[in-house]
Amino acid sequence: MNSVPSIVVTGLGMVTPIGTGREEFWNALIAGKCGFGPVQSFNTSGYSVHLGAEILDFEPKDHVVRLRTRVIGRSSQLAIAAARLALTDASLDLETIDRRRAGVCVGTTSGEPHFIERFDDRYVQGDIANAGDGLIRGYPCHVVPSHVAAELEFAGETMMIPTACAAGNYAIAHASDVLRAGRADIMLAGGADCFSRITYTGFARLGAIAPELCQPFDRNRKGMVPGEGAGFLLLERKDQAIARGARIYCEVAGYGLSCDAHHMTAAHPQGEGASRAMVMALKQSGVAAEDVDYISAHGTGTPTNDRLETIAMKKTFGELAYRIPVSSVKSMLGHTMGAASAIEAAVCALAITHQQIPPTMNLHEQDPECDLDFVPNQARKRKVKVAMNNAYAFGGNNSSLLFRASAA
């Protein structure tokens, strides 16, 4: 690993239900601000639940300059906004870079669902002959990174990794590999998902949506709250970042990816695959278990996930698990799907920068089966040199990303 270049994070951008841009977002997190409310994007009167975490004040024209906002979907708009914010945050002058060596890697769960929802509306009305070209030009999920690349005029590798609720981690992992291999000089890596009727309907049918609050690790937790958002990290090789005088948030130290090969929508009961991913991340990073200072949990707030995730952390860390603070920002943002682990990766970078850990909100009565330190209700100042970001998805996809403070 010694000859392998170090990859660093030099820019952060996000659009979330509790704030847009690094400063507003971090301040909201530390203050414990929650972004839940009744769903506004579509009519939920036929559903048993009505809670969502939507972004109510997003104005695409504030962020999208080159492409036409009427033609591109909302996930692409959110992604472009977060990508531009990350570039600005990195103080990167686009005139100085070789665009053929600038790439985009994005994760998502749904891509651009509004296009297929419109197609389906017409289909059931018998009006498919007037569907238009949206199903090809606007819908397929790879349009999201394509639109970001088109907006920024990047001509390098452009990829979508749609590994659902773990996708952001996969995108960041791959982007760091692309840079290590010398295939690009800068990579925008992140995730994006807009609020989706299809996603909401499915999770409601599974009984997975909470009626009032997202309460990860709480004894009375009743489920997750679907949300929307986008988060991007600007990644580059450390020597290049230093040469241009960039501010370095942290290093992408390593990652671990595994598959449960067990069940499509429920995690392995002994946390086997999730634990393997954590162990792989530690090994790849050369980080010892006792050096982990913070874990950003997947922590959706469903009874099953939180219990199994606790088991997986104990399986990985043993007794150490009781001394590592863990928090779930989904307690505030809801579940932003493919954006979640990208936003949570940014949270790790910020925790290292500010030496502060965001809380798990709404944690009133901790579940005795979830008996670790989940940083209840109050942000905490603490030394954070190494942070782990965990995310799990349908299909048994497990991911762990490790971030480490960059030595000068």
Partner: protein, 84 residues
């Protein structure tokens, strides 16, 4: 609706999801232990039954179903409750 018709329709829903022949499914069969189904398949059967008999089970009712008989009892209760 007669009890026998309810049983047949419930078992047909199970057959549709699992491929197991409806005629061979006993009332006392446990979804997990005898039919070897996972949570997603069990929920799929429940939704097929709800759709067939036009009702919506509560979360509590869904989580208490363990056997084919439990499903039949739930349907009976819901259908006769509406008639009454």
């Amino acid at each position: 609706m007669e009890l026998e018709v309810i049983k047949i329709k419930v078992k047909e829903a199970i057959q549709q999801v699992t491929g197991v022949d409806a005629a061979g499914i006993s009332d006392s069969a446990s979804y997990i232990d005898d039919l070897d189904l996972d949570s997603l398949a069990i929920l799929e059967i429940a939704v097929a039954v709800e759709s067939e008999f036009k009702f919506q089970a509560t979360d509590e009712e869904l989580s208490s179903i363990r056997t084919v008989e439990d499903t039949i009892t739930l349907v009976k209760r819901r259908i006769f409750a509406e008639v009454a």
